[in-house]
């Protein structure tokens, strides 16, 4: 047996956030961008499976600047990029303002994964099955990217250009996620993950809702907001069947190892009943 890929990869370890950004910048200028490594729960699965990941890795794990406890600041619930699922579960502020993120975090893998998986990693990895993403999309989360030019903010719903492709430039780093608090007030929050089992399963369909704002995961190349259904609800629409027909127009799930497109569409439509605002008899 040859030397495992994990022994061969080159990892550079910045001493500070500034240092990390400088490194990203010079690597991008050299045309050899660095791959970002946070808790490793996605990248190491690929490496262990023998996927040949090329280039150098920038190890962010030690950057304590990116892992402050979640705080409320400037009217938003603010997370550092390295906030782990366990950090979310333990945070009284997250429990209070965004309980569906706590719920989603509890359903990500086992405790071992919750201790290492990060919000920034989930966003940056961009899997359409990322469990935190529908929650963040439904809650209008903003992704803050830092570079030598300063910071820019991109709504999570505009962060993905296609399957696993993001608008992050190679010299930028996700540093924070900000969830505006005002739209959360007095809104019912719902999170439902449908997978093979309750624990340790990657989702077939995920739905998160903050009042009339609804997002789905695992039903398309990226996390998706159900804008047509949302508009229908905002106009006072109450028919479950009508909402389900609208949803069919805006999500196009595929067949893959975990499920089929037909099943996913049906389950996503059925999940709309859990919003509690739609009438199955209308």
């Amino acid at each position: 047996m040859g030397q495992p890929a994990t022994d061969r990869i080159e990892i550079v370890k910045p001493q500070s956030l500034r240092h990390a950004i400088d490194w990203l910048t010079s690597a991008a200028e050299d045309g050899s961008p660095l791959t970002l490594l946070a808790g490793g729960t996605d990248i190491y699965v690929l490496l262990n499976a023998g996927v040949p990941l090329q280039g150098r890795f920038l190890d962010l794990w030690g950057l304590t600047e990116l892992r402050p406890a979640p705080v409320v600041s400037g009217g938003s619930l603010v997370f550092g990029a390295l906030t782990t699922y366990t950090d979310c579960i333990r945070s009284a502020l997250v429990q209070k303002h965004l309980p569906i993120l706590v719920q989603a975090s509890r359903e990500v893998g086992g405790v071992q994964i919750q201790n290492r998986g990060t919000l920034g990693g989930n966003i940056g990895n961009g899997s359409p099955a990322g469990d935190s993403l529908p929650v963040l999309a439904a809650a209008d989360a903003q992704v803050v990217l830092a570079s030598v030019n300063g910071e820019r903010t991109v709504p999570l719903t505009e962060f993905y250009s296609s399957y696993r492709k993001t608008v992050r430039r190679p010299y930028e780093l996700i540093v924070r996620v900000e969830v505006p608090l005002a739209p959360l007030q007095k809104q019912k929050q719902i999170f439902r993950k449908v997978g093979t089992r309750a624990a340790q399963a990657i989702s077939k369909v995920v739905m998160a809702a903050v009042g009339p704002q609804i997002a789905f995961g695992s039903v398309g190349p990226t996390v998706v907001r159900a804008r047509k259904v949302e508009a229908y609800l905002r106009e006072g629409g109450r028919s479950l069947a009508a909402a389900q027909r609208l949803l069919k127009q805006e999500i196009h799930p595929i067949d893959d190892v975990r499920s089929t497109g037909v099943y996913r569409l049906k389950v996503a439509q059925n999940l709309l009943a859990e919003l509690g605002t739609l009438d199955a008899h209308k």
Binding site: N48, W61, Q112, R116
Partner: protein, 145 residues
């Protein structure tokens, strides 16, 4: 790189990306930590880093630098964890045994006097294909509950 494993400081020269699992098993000859799935699902490779359970197959050794690591070989040093080992024996919580080190390490990260529900959640990231889990929960409850 400097690692403290089971209270003992080690200076090792390993590739930074080498999996902590491999560093423990190959460089430190601590082969009690097992590899199962290699994708963070089975929990056989669970160790504690600064008191938190992790899958050592997914942790680059450089991310464990400067931390305190607990592996199954360190359990006998602590009376509380000795009690856990004894309970696993007494409750027949091990059959083939491959999941046992990871199970015990996940149990070590539970809150004091865990409820059955806390045990089930805390051990959800550890798969056992022999016991059906009941005897494992019994052992953890007996030792820590």
């Amino acid at each position: 790189m400097k690692l403290t494993v089971n209270g003992q400081a080690h200076a090792i020269s390993a590739a930074p990306g080498k999996r902590l699992l491999d560093t423990l098993r190959e460089d430190l000859k601590l082969t009690g930590t097992k590899e199962g799935c290699g994708e963070g699902e089975c929990g056989a490779c669970t160790v504690l880093i600064d008191g938190e359970a992790v899958n050592s197959c997914l942790v680059p050794t450089c991310q464990a630098e400067g931390t305190k690591i607990l592996t199954v070989e360190g359990l006998a040093q602590n009376p509380r964890w000795r009690k856990l080992q004894k309970a696993f024996l007494e409750c027949n919580a091990a059959q083939c045994g491959i999941c046992t080190p990871g199970m015990m390490l996940s149990a070590c990260a539970l809150p004091p006097q865990p409820t059955l529900q806390q045990i089930r959640v805390g051990l959800a990231g550890n798969l056992c294909r022999c016991t059906g889990y009941v005897k494992i929960y019994d052992a953890v409850k007996k030792a820590l509950g």
